[in-house]
Symmetry: C2
Subunit: 284 residues, 2 copies
Amino acid sequence: MYAAIEAGGTKFVCAVSDHDFTIKDRKHIPTTTPQETLGAVFTFFDQYDIEAIGIGSFGPIDANPESAHYGYITTTPKLAWTNFDFLGAIRAHYPNTKTAFTTDVNVAAFGEFKLGAAQGKKNVAYYTVGTGIGMGYIHNGQIYMGRENPEAGHFLVRRHPDDHFVGACPYHQDCLEGMAAGPALEQRWGKKGKDIDPNSQAWEIEAYYLAQASMNTTLYLSPDIIVFGGGVSKQAQLFPLIRSQFAKILGDYVDVPPISDYIVPVGLGDDAGITGALLLAAEQ
Amino acid sequence: MYAAIEAGGTKFVCAVSDHDFTIKDRKHIPTTTPQETLGAVFTFFDQYDIEAIGIGSFGPIDANPESAHYGYITTTPKLAWTNFDFLGAIRAHYPNTKTAFTTDVNVAAFGEFKLGAAQGKKNVAYYTVGTGIGMGYIHNGQIYMGRENPEAGHFLVRRHPDDHFVGACPYHQDCLEGMAAGPALEQRWGKKGKDIDPNSQAWEIEAYYLAQASMNTTLYLSPDIIVFGGGVSKQAQLFPLIRSQFAKILGDYVDVPPISDYIVPVGLGDDAGITGALLLAAEQ
Ligand SMILES: Nc1ncnc2c1ncn2[C@@H]1O[C@H](COP(=O)(O)OP(=O)(O)O)[C@@H](O)[C@H]1O
Ligand SMILES: Nc1ncnc2c1ncn2[C@@H]1O[C@H](COP(=O)(O)OP(=O)(O)O)[C@@H](O)[C@H]1O
Ligand SMILES: [Zn+2]
Ligand SMILES: [Zn+2]
């Protein structure tokens, strides 16, 4: 069987599947200390005959196989996990099992590419818009990595003229994440994203920022498709707004695919990440 | 010998070299009509025994080898060249010669990667800041292409608070090119870039925009190095200003190489493009 871990800052999702990637069993484990959390992960996986393990982790992580600290979680503010050799711990417990290690957004991008909204495309940008904003990118069918992984959630947005929210990013204040992630919505409007009226101007402002993300993605990466997942993107009314803002700000400058096939919601829903991690396990 | 064409909107630069890439002969030919300009190009190259031709062209071009219009200049405002089969014309005249066809900025990026300021790096972003702003990118030693070539010169900048210039881009008005290319400098300050006092605030504002370009490049591509060439980047006082603005706006968010090795001026000067085209010819 294939095993997968989607390691988040709040919880770990573990799953096992057969070769058809249908999830056979899954478990949510709270993210406490590495020892406690991974202890529970091993207890879960030990029930199964595992061929390979795919891991998508919160970060920042060292995902460069040539690096001395490959497989580590590095400078996370979650202190128990700082400089923790995550992949090493997995390999120590399963020395004969193949592993794949990348970021949480990269596994989701890979899942969407193989089995989700981006099937048949070669170049796939995937954004999660949730507690934070992260992007994973598939280039020519492979997970893209430069010197490190992209961190496209933090570019400096152009402010919407009606938006006076100061911004919530501790590093940049009013970058994309600081203006458009779930906590920014909540702080700006005084209620959680899911409780904001679908007709509120909140969504037009949100779309203005996600349209800028789509524009920068188009200009820097020239993907075949841009997929949005994560809690905030569950607001389906966002998509027409993002598309029309995108068309407006990009102008006729570059040719893009038909817009409703180009900027799309996640196909696998909340399972994009865990499915991508299973798919990645299968490729090892 | 290797042959190279750097095809610009104003002039074509043609050159030939031996296998050591030292330019043996070169000719500048005005860009008029395809027939006239290419006629002069052929007259020049016909003097030599050419093994391969590398071409870096103004655009937009179709650089996708799988496309029906591969090798064409597509929607350029230079009407005589619109939908012109540039590569086809070269191949018709030199049917037994190998060819390589890409953008003007991609050949410059390739030149810097192989023989210029970015030697030894795997992931190289190259910006030209001249009449326009364009970016070429080398990823893992290869010219990067997604669905099409990146067009990173047109992202929406955040305005410098002291800058009230309306912006010069016909598509976006105050995008990067609209605010920071040579014509923007000239319109904003009423004189050509080379005549602006090196101590003028003009350069701090210019650096503010090029720092944003560096930040977006870092966040989307995570390169090993960012190289700036083109006429405007000849102002050497820009580099310390770009570096300090970059460090300030990026914050401590992601780790980058030592800044003076990361944001650098072009190593091959005005020959980056033509040298890159020769190098590309050699790889065919
Ligand atoms: N249906 C919804 N509409 C708008 N915002 C939502 C919705 N569901 C969750 N969110 C917001 O998304 C964020 C959580 O994102 P999520 O992708 O679910 O988890 P995480 O990013 O922590 O992995 C929270 O800020 C939450 O308020
Ligand atoms: N030394 C310089 N300092 C500032 N600006 C310059 C300098 N040299 C050229 N420029 C500006 O750069 C632009 C031309 O860019 P260049 O890279 O030389 O050619 P092109 O982009 O047309 O291939 C013009 O707008 C010009 O004013
Ligand atoms: Zn930020
Ligand atoms: Zn523009």
